[in-house]
Amino acid sequence: MAMMKTILARTILAGLPAALALSAQAGEVVPSPEEMWKIIQAQQARIDALETELAETQVETFEVKKGVEAIADATETSGGSGWYNNTQIGGYGELHYEGGAKDELDFHRFVLFVGHDFTENIRFFSELELEHAIAGEGKVGEIELEQVYVEMDIGQNAHVYAGMHLVPVGLLNETHEPPTFYGVERNAVEKNIIPATWWEGGVGINGNVGDSGFSYAAMVSSGLNLNTANGYKIRSGRQKVGIAQFKSQAYSGRLAYSGILGLNIASSIYYQPDVTQKVGDSISGEDVSAFLWESHIDAKYKGFGLRALYANWSLDGAEASVSGRDKQSGFYIEPSYKLGVPMGPLDDAQIGVFYRYSDWDNEAGLDNNTGVKRSVFGVNYWPIDDVVLKMDYIIEDKDSGGASNKSMNLGVGYQF
């Protein structure tokens, strides 16, 4: 600093004769060298004072920056560290108008999810559903607890769980929020054959195998309860884990591949040694084992979509054979096309059209024309990703003959 001051003074003094000469030419009063030296000293004192102020200001600025960062840190974490920071809430719902012979309006499902992370590796998840808007003695609806489980991570990409969980089978059983599928109602094959939505109590594991694109799921759980009273119809055998018979547990598993962009293919199996829960077949008295095999594909490419699924049950009981319910199977195929239709503030709006052909038979063990064929075509409109408006037209024909059952249906659904 001293060196700089010396250089400054010398520079000014060096230029002084020239400045004095110019001033003299202009006829101004020229200060003496002594007066100039005093002026220079006064200016130097001022420069010193400004330098001190600048240094102090820089220190203050640094302190202010630190303070602002600290306030920002405090503000961004002002929520505290309560349990609520680790708790998540979600849900979905759907209102349906079903035309044709039914001509009904129904708030079909109102669902709330609640999850909580106990630690980074152990969490809880639940799904509570109110079906058909009103529940209670003699009412049309019901309240159902569809999922409640505690899950723990093991390793870097595998999870084990215990509790009530959706059976890992089919396309819709585990992912059925209204904006994720076409059509007002869920497809009939997964409803009547799989039977979605299907949950059991038990333990399981799911995860994926590195970067291979393969994933897996396995579950040991409670199972179906089929008997003479419900006629061995698969959907009627769901116990929903409400004081469920647990005399014959079930084993289910799925292997899936999604290692190519837009492609998901999977196969699932379900095996239960005795679906009568040790009551036995009413004719032979023996256990009635059941085996489900299901495969599906879900492919997307540039707006085009294709979903297809096949599911087949085999039951080995004599009574089931008599009614033809030793074989229960079905399939559907659903091509679709989706495109963006931005309009004003709805700049993410999309519209999709689809056609779905379904064919299923819950008494396929006998050739008694018990199958059902259903064609559905319609449109989904998503004003935003999480809200959907739906319209479809159903034409259903029974193999046994008779007039086609036709209906036009409307729906609105959401998820969050």
């Binding site: 979600g90 899950e151 994926n208 997307k300």
Partner: protein, 182 residues
């Protein structure tokens, strides 16, 4: 007998599970996420990582950020790293229930690299694959704040795909702000 089978199943899964998942680099664990971020930055800047800078989410930015995310950013500022025209952003967005941490490198207004640093959901993990994240390379953000290209989705991972698209747009938007301010 049944109980024994269940216990056997649990023991087997506990033993096999870690082996099956062991070779996957990106987990949701906090320490591993932090390590993944450090590695991402070192790769982006060839092991010469500059000190971080701060972009404050002021009133003007807040409005645009909300339009991109469809909700408030949830913080007052965002930290980033810069060397010339290259900026690096580590951002988070909820997939279905949990935040996905994503590292994004932007150079001269286009995405150079996008990588999922931490994925905490049990479904939708396919978004971590290169076949998905490579779709973002070269993407820019025109005036309408939409990506200049279509990003194909993944079946069963709709919400995770959406989260990554939002973060790609957000990083490009933030990059434009800091480049404009210089």
């Amino acid at each position: 007998m049944r109980i024994i089978r269940i216990y056997l199943f649990l023991i087997c899964t506990a033993l096999i599970g870690p082996f099956l998942g062991a070779n996957f680099a990106h987990a949701g664990d906090g320490k591993e996420a932090a390590a993944a971020q450090v590695q991402f930055l070192e790769t982006a800047f060839s092991n010469d990582v500059p000190g971080h800078k701060t972009l404050w989410i002021d009133k003007a930015l807040k409005k645009d950020v909300k339009k991109i995310l469809r909700h408030d950013y949830g913080a007052l500022r965002v930290r980033y790293w810069q060397n010339g025209t290259r900026t690096v952003w580590v951002l988070e967005e909820i997939g279905k229930y949990k935040p996905i941490t994503v590292g994004i490198v932007i150079n001269e207004g286009a995405i150079e690299k996008l990588e999922v640093l931490a994925y905490r959901e049990s479904h939708g993990w396919e978004v971590r694959h290169d076949f998905f994240t490579h779709q973002f390379i070269g993407a820019r953000l025109p005036k309408d704040k939409k990506l200049d290209r279509n990003v194909d989705g993944i079946s069963g991972a709709t919400l995770s795909v959406r989260a990554l698209k939002k973060l790609a747009r957000l990083a490009l938007y933030f990059d434009a702000q800091v480049q404009t301010n210089e």
